[in-house]
Symmetry: C2
Subunit: 302 residues, 2 copies
């Protein structure tokens, strides 16, 4: 398998693989969610189980335009109950992927995290791993975590890196290059997160992360641009060729992708990880494309 270096290549790859995953959506009533789901059904990526309040579907005519034996509607008007049922279907093996529709993130997270009925194995770290397609960057950039963990500790960061590596493998990247990002490449343990970076580098040297290339702290220039990075005359094996960017905290990851989404035309797909099955959790303000890319990512990972 060649590595997948764009969302277009991802869609083509999934069509070639030709396996329909079963995806359950908690309260799929808004247009963006439905259009992304229908696109994934049309391309043969998924069979969709839409659980929720049928009466509150924003545009019922969408269903007339997209009739399909692979779309099933289950009417559970109470959103909280619908969410619990969606999680139950994943846990029981009736569905492979869970997706959030028009549900408060809190409600979905509570259902996922429930010790008895949820889908987060004890001891697993719940985090968010995303893929960013930036025009003028030569491949997809995976990054963590723009949403879930405000200030990762060493244990959480280690888990985050391992999930991202597994994701990169599924995209056919045989030896991913990982950059731990900060404001500067000068390691100063007095500055927040830097000691964790140094510890993780040591763990990497000892083989904890397998056959990957890792460096950090690195700034954005060193991680993502050979030319601007070279001016610094800093030696790093990931120079301008990073596959996975690990950000210090959720605000810097969030600020990074939103800036590039607004002003560089960057597109994002992303998933909750740490759960038994991939969870598509995008915010209401994400585009149809972004929701579709997230579904496609979930298909590769399930």
């Amino acid at each position: 398998m060649n590595s997948i270096s764009s969302f277009a290549e991802l869609a083509t790859h999934l069509k070639d693989v030709n396996i329909r995953r079963r995806m359950v959506v908690a309260n799929a009533v808004d247009n963006h969610t439905l259009e992304a789901v229908f696109k994934a059904v049309d391309l043969g990526l998924i069979e969709a189980f839409l659980i929720g309040d049928v009466a509150s579907i924003e545009s019922p005519e969408l269903f007339e335009h997209n009739p399909s034996p692979y779309i099933h509607i289950i009417d559970i008007p109470e959103v909280h109950e619908a969410t619990i049922e969606a999680v139950r279907m994943v846990k029981s093996g009736e569905a492979d992927i869970l997706m959030k529709g028009l549900v408060n993130t809190d409600v979905l997270l509570r259902a996922i995290l429930d010790k008895e009925k949820g889908i987060l194995p004890a001891g697993n770290v719940l985090t968010y791993n995303a893929a960013l397609e930036i025009p003028n960057y030569h491949k997809l950039l995976f990054f963590s975590d723009p949403v879930v963990i405000p200030s990762p500790n060493l244990y959480q960061r280690t888990a985050m890196i391992k999930y991202a590596i597994q994701t990169a493998y599924k995209f056919g990247i045989t030896k991913p290059k990982i950059a731990m990002i900060h404001a500067t490449e000068v390691a100063n343990p007095k500055i927040h997160y830097m000691q964790d970076y140094l510890d993780i580098m040591q763990m990497w040297r000892e083989g904890e992360f397998g056959d990957v290339i890792m460096d950090g702290p690195l700034d954005i220039f060193l991680a993502l641009d050979k030319e601007r990075g070279s001016i610094k005359k800093v030696q790093t094996p990931v120079l301008g060729d990073t596959d996975i960017a690990i950000f210090p905290n959720f605000e810097s990851a969030n600020i990074f992708y939103k800036g590039l989404a607004l002003f560089a035309g960057a597109q994002m797909g992303g998933l909750l990880q740490g759960t038994t099955n991939p969870v598509v959790l995008t915010s209401r303000s994400e585009s149809i494309d972004s929701k579709f890319y997230s579904i496609a990512m979930a298909c590769v990972l399930s």
Copy 2:
């Protein structure tokens, strides 16, 4: 005065004002620094005093191509001494602006911070304020602090905001709109910096910052894009029209501007603030343009 909304307008404004500021440069020997200085001299913005190790000038021929009565060379081969002399000239009033050439930032900062001979008044906060010109954003975006203060406390952040407001006034912005940026607009005092944001909002309501508009926490979409911001249905008076972005910490500010420099063609100028006089401190990897914009910013502020 109309407000200055791009670096081109800034250069035009300074030509119209037609006041030559006296700028002293510590060890101006590298080409990027010299070319930026010569450009500012040619446009009538500055008279330059170049103090440093003449023997180590990268391209002496640059001086032949740029002869000018407004360029003065002072040979002090020892860089540390040259830096101290440059700071002395500013302190004594012989120069209006200080610029860093090929000197380690540590050496320059030590000279600036020296209690007797330095130029940081006791009690002042030293921070970095920058202006970013982003294609597709409709005006300059001022922001703090990508370089100096890793993790600002309430006192430092308050000072940072006040410097940025003064800068915006000098650019002719009569009522600057200030956004305190985070991953989300939902204020949660348990998340780092959020309590400071809430305290600063209260100070703003009580008039501490004068006649400005302020909101925070806000995410990048709300702060910088009316369309993407509107989807969230959050009311904010700065929606998509921010003049000043205050970032939570130096890594998020640094990651923001470097991402946009690489992938959105953004250009930056920036200055140290808190000192008695503006200090141009750019890194070796900054472009000639970026160094020139920083000099121009210093001229407006002095």
